[in-house]
Amino acid sequence: MHAVVRRALATVIVVLALPAAAGAQPGVGVKAKTGKGLYAAYCLSCHGVDGSGVTSTSHPPGVLDVHGLGPPLKGVGALAADFYLTIGYMPLADPHEQPRHTKSPFDDREIAALVAYVASLGKGAGVPHPQPQRGDISRGLSLFTEHCAGCHQVVAEGGYVTNAVAPPLHQATPVQIAEAVRIGPYLMPTFPASQISDSQLNSIIAYVQWAKHPDDRGGWSIGRIGPVPEGLVAWLIAATALVGCCLVIGRRFQR
């Protein structure tokens, strides 16, 4: 009985929240400066009152297994809030779409306020302080190949994974990389310290930083993803040039 009522209620909230979620555009109309105010304006529609989440089993699964508009935020901590906000994943425009790396609509002060507010909702991990300068690039390459390259490609150029894109990592900051590894956003697995230690994480970050400008011997690097652009060059540049040569050299002799 209770469950039915709760489900019905949740559905109502979901239905009511939909237009609000779509309509909430930061910077438009809202003048809130406190974390709580910002949260109420931009996050509440999906994450519910006090970060209790807007979930319902009757709602078709949106992002991953999140049935509803947004998962609970109690206990996700400053770490998750900082990551999702600085990288521009949140506020999400459409709960059925994968969050994408964009410029955050909030300024630094607003982000700090929101992070503090989300952190205050429950006990959770704080923002990490990785030290990639202590890492070892070579070790990082091994670890990256072992844990990350299957999704993010070995030079961190990104790739397709079932139903999602594993984004290129060239825009991510060291802190964001450290956060992503501990959170496992979207389809990405979570890597706890028992699997990747903090010092290993430093090496991974050092490698990812290095991979932004890797050693490009051999000339123009055409994307560093291997044969697809190479095939394009082979046909569009080489084969075209050679057919052109044939046309020029093989022009009919005047008779």
């Binding site: 397709y160 894109v165 051999g218």
Partner: protein
């Protein structure tokens, strides 16, 4: 001076009459006949750069640790093969230039064979008596694909290892014989015995190049013995008479120029555009991989086929009779090559033309052949495009699953569209030509001239 040398050689070899004939050999005068020469010269560059690489590459899977200057690989465990390829790229003088030129040449080699083949196909040059020449050409294409695949696999970087894993699974998927064949080649379940590396090496630097060279020799011999085909360019051209330019002074300088052009393009690419940066991929260890690993373009159609075939296995009880990779990885290429091999025979059967054909058709002159060819190559091309769908998704955001379904539809529809559209186009071209002729004739008559006999 030259005279003296020639006399010296002739007196000792008696080849002057043959040389004389060769120098007077008449080449048809059309640019498309040079495509085969591009393939030939690319092969020459491949052999040249390849020999240089063999001086430094060590085909061994023995374990070693990298201690060179390249930071990200420092201390990595790797095979001697991979390390020698990295050293070849970083330490050996002109090593990277040669490696890159070799790899570009491989990509261009297959591309030029394909272009040459398209010319042969769409002008009907494969008809009797040149069908044998055509079969040799097709066989060279297959050997070239294999040769390229081995070259890609030898290096033992991350991409090589993943490519071999796919090759292994495709071979294993062949019903009844696959498992045994794979064991025979690899010596043990994947990644196989260390001998496998030496087997690949021997095949790559010796067996297959010799095979290509032999087939090439026969191919060229047959071309010369049966003489080139030619287009019907004027009334002077007939099935019997050959019109064109002699080897010397016509074709030889032209051909030499083409050789330099090919060499220039390949070495420029090798020096200016990065290809297969193995130091970025890192060494291969079993069960490791990277997203978006792809074969070189000429095997992209097989990856495309593996992606497009819906996932199902043919099983009897618990026994998997035909594992999924068979359809895309083995059956599809076999089918395509079977059709290509059968084309001359099929054409003879279907048209009832069993005689010798020395004159080429323009594509429009044989609408059915052109249309069927267009359908076949469209089919292969759509599958080929599907092979890059993951990169299209990452680069342009077009849904991957959506793309695959679109390709599954296109792969059926586009060949049919190509078939009818091409035929219509050929007929329309013929018709407009006919009208043009009639108009010219009418104009001539109006001016009171005698109509020209066609």
């Amino acid at each position: 001076m030259i005279r003296a040398v020639v006399r010296y050689l002739d007196e000792r070899s008696g080849t002057a009459p043959f040389l004389k004939k060769a120098l007077r050999y008449v080449f048809p005068d059309h640019w498309s006949f040079l495509l085969g020469e591009v393939a030939l010269y690319t092969f020459v560059i491949l052999v040249g750069t390849g020999i240089y690489l063999t001086l430094f590459f060590e085909p061994s899977t023995a374990t070693t640790y990298y201690t060179g200057h390249y930071l990200p690989l420092r201390g990595h465990e790797m095979s001697v093969a991979y390390r020698s390829a990295v050293d070849l790229s970083f330490k050996v003088r002109a090593g990277l230039l040669m490696r890159q030129t070799h790899h570009w040449a491989a990509d261009v080699f297959v591309a030029s064979i394909v272009l040459h083949m398209l010319r042969i196909f769409f002008t009907g040059a494969f008809r009797k008596p040149r069908d044998l020449t055509y079969y040799l050409g097709l066989t060279m294409l297959i050997v070239a694909l294999l040769e390229g695949y081995l070259g890609y696999s030898l290096v033992d970087d991350l991409l090589s290892g993943m490519g071999l894993a796919i090759g292994y699974s495709v071979l294993m998927s062949i019903p009844f014989v696959g498992g045994n064949l794979a064991l025979l080649l690899w010596g043990a379940p994947f990644p196989g015995k260390p001998d496998f590396e030496s087997r690949m090496y021997v095949a790559h630097v010796f067996l297959l190049p010799i095979l290509i060279a032999t087939l090439l020799g026969l191919h060229l011999f047959l071309v010369a013995a049966r003489h080139h085909t030619q287009f019907r360019e004027s009334r002077r051209t007939t099935e019997k008479k050959v019109i064109g330019i002699p080897t010397f002074p016509g074709q030889a300088p032209r051909s030499l120029g083409l050789f330099f052009a090919v060499a220039a393009v390949l070495f420029l690419l090798g020096g200016l555009i990065q290809i297969n940066p193995i130091w970025l991929w890192g060494p291969y260890h079993v069960a490791q991989g990277t997203n978006g690993a792809q074969p070189d373009w000429y095997l992209g159609w097989l990856i495309g086929a593996l992606r497009l075939v819906p996932s199902f296995d043919v099983t009897i009880g618990h026994y998997t009779l035909v594992p999924n990779p068979f359809w895309g990885g083995a059956l599809f290429p076999l089918l395509v090559f079977l059709i290509l091999y059968l084309s001359p025979w099929l054409e003879r059967r279907l048209t009832g033309e069993y005689g010798f054909r020395h004159l080429l058709d323009r594509p429009r002159d044989a609408p059915w052949r052109t249309a069927l060819g267009a359908a076949l190559f469209t089919w292969v091309f759509v599958v080929f495009l599907a092979g890059a769908s993951d990169r299209v998704f990452v680069s342009f955001g077009v849904s991957y699953v959506g793309q695959i379904w679109v390709y599954r539809v296109l792969v059926v529809i586009l060949p049919v569209v190509a078939l009818f559209a091409t035929r219509r186009l050929c007929l329309a071209l013929q018709e407009s030509e006919r009208l043009g002729r009639i108009r010219k004739q009418a104009e001539a008559e109006a001016r009171g001239e005698m109509p020209q006999p066609e």
